[in-house]
């Protein structure tokens, strides 16, 4: 998958987008009133998320649908089990996500050092967490793929999962009052939804990394455990669903 990615115009399009985002990061750092490092880092992390999201949808999911449209997945599934196919697509996409994440982190690291005179290794940690976050998102996309959704619908569902997954804490806070003073059913419904949909707040250590604050080892372990369990669950469920379906 890496080989075909390098030849894809989309790959270089995303690289170009990344370069432009670097320029944007440096540009806005000039408006920072003497704290350019944090502006470059914050913008860099936003760019990291955008790039990984683009890779997930435009590389990972799109290539699966392309194979489906070309009937190529039949010849592949003639050779390997369906679960292996899903794992292969998943792994290939994660490799590309990792490549872009490291590239972005290296770029932001360099820009922070060059323009702000500061060295921030935390950006590489941010890249690590972004890889975990978006690998989980890719697994969600694979799950919807196995359910037979079309590519546009799948892309929208993945985007929705991303947005909702980042808003679960706020949703919970918003509905606490509703539960306490109004309908308990609404509150518990939101609570269930927040638990079922992946909670990307587990991977949000951005502010801590920007401010070089230590992250408790317990918190890291819980986050990684959550990632491993949720990922395994989604991929296994996807394999089970795909195995039952006519393709």
């Amino acid at each position: 998958m890496l080989q075909e990615s390098f030849r894809s115009k989309l790959f270089w399009g995303i690289v170009l987008f990344l370069m432009l985002f670097f320029v944007f990061s440096v540009y806005i750092s000039f408006l920072s009133l003497d704290t350019p490092a944090r502006f470059i880092l914050n913008a860099g992390m936003a760019g990291l998320s955008l790039v990984c999201l683009a890779v997930t949808i435009l590389f990972g999911l799109f290539s699966m649908y392309e194979e489906k449209a070309r009937f190529e997945r039949y010849v592949i599934l003639n050779r390997i089990p369906r679960a292996a196919y899903l794992m292969g697509k998943f792994s290939g996409t994660v490799v590309i996500q990792a490549l872009f994440a490291v590239l972005t982190a290296a770029g932001i690291f360099f820009l922070t050092w060059y323009f702000a005179g500061e060295v921030h290794y935390g950006i590489f940690a941010a890249a690590f967490w972004a890889i975990l976050e978006f690998s989980l998102l890719m697994a969600v996309g694979i799950f919807f793929y196995c359910l037979g959704t079309s590519f546009p619908l799948n892309a929208m569902l993945v985007l929705a999962t991303y947005v909702v997954g980042h808003s679960t804490r706020e949703a919970m806070l918003s509905f606490v009052g509703l539960g306490q003073f109004g309908s308990q059913i609404h509150y518990y419904f939101v609570k269930v939804l927040c638990v079922v949909i992946p909670d990307f707040d587990f991977f949000n250590f951005r502010l801590a990394l920007i401010h070089s604050e230590p992250i408790a080892p317990g918190e890291i372990l819980i986050s990684m455990g959550y990632w491993a369990c949720y990922l395994a669950a989604v991929l296994i469920l996807s394999s089970v669903i795909l195995k039952q379906k006519d393709i």
Binding site: Q3, E72, V75, I76, R79, I80, P81, K243, Q244
Partner: protein, 250 residues
């Protein structure tokens, strides 16, 4: 007497699809036939007869509502790769981002062929299909016929005994079609077993040992060309085919 089990055996296969508004479409009614070692069996049928569905069931891409599929006497499970089988689907397009060689190497990898043997296997296969001079070319730069040859080459990766081809000549020009048929005949002579679907009667007639006619999910006839013509009282396969289709429709 040949006591070896047939390469492929279908027993009372049936498949229905649920359409919109609770419509049920019967794709296959009660399909039973065998494909013996070393023979070429062709399945003819009009559009929507159920040919592709039959192939999907054989390959395990769809689950039959009833019946079973046996390969060399072994019952095949749904959704499992078929042993020693090469497959070329209808309207197949290989990955446009890879070169021809890379694509075959990729399939060698999927088939578990060690890397040190894969290159040799790739060169041999590409030579067989006449694509060796285009090995370094990107698949997106190939014509439809060339792409089809690449597809055929991937079907041969791992030297399978059985080839299942769905409309292998679709989209090819007359020269390409003729070359494809010649190729299939050569494979038969090499001892391969081939099962393919088509709606081009002349090709089927030329290459197949036995010909089946599938209409509306029902296998009307499956026999040699001569027996087919006799049973349908026809001068040629075209007439036989039309008679069976009309008979089924009435």
């Amino acid at each position: 007497m040949n006591t070896r089990p047939p390469v492929v055996e279908l027993k009372h296969l049936g498949k229905t699809y649920k359409g919109k508004k609770k419509n049920v479409v019967t794709a296959l009614k009660d399909l039973s036939f065998t494909v013996k070692q070393g023979e070429i069996v062709g399945l003819l049928g009009p559009n929507g007869a159920g040919k592709t569905t039959a192939i999907k069931l054989i390959m395990g891409f769809a689950v039959p509502d009833k019946g079973e599929i046996l390969f060399h006497g072994q019952r095949q499970k749904f959704a499992e790769p078929r042993p020693n089988t090469g497959y070329l689907p209808e309207s197949f397009k290989p990955n446009p981002h890879l070169t021809v060689r890379e694509y075959i190497l990729f399939h060698c990898g999927l088939s578990g062929i060690p890397k040190r043997l894969a290159k040799k296997e790739t060169d041999t296969l590409l030579g067989h299909v006449g694509m060796d001079i285009f090995a370094g070319r990107k698949i997106s730069d190939l014509s439809k016929g060339m792409g089809q040859r690449v597809g055929l080459a991937q079907a041969f990766v791992g030297d399978p005994d059985l080839l299942i081809l769905d409309e292998p000549t679709s989209g090819l020009d007359p020269v390409g079609r003729s070359e494809m048929i010649d190729f299939l005949i050569a494979q038969k002579q090499a001892g391969k077993t081939i099962f393919f679907c088509s709606h081009i009667l002349s090709e089927v007639e030329r290459v197949c040992d036995r010909i089946g006619i599938l209409v509306k999910g029902e296998l009307r006839l499956l026999d040699t060309r001569d027996v087919l013509l006799e049973k349908t009282d026809s001068k040629d396969l075209d007439e036989a085919f039309k008679k069976e289709v009309l008979c089924a429709q009435s």
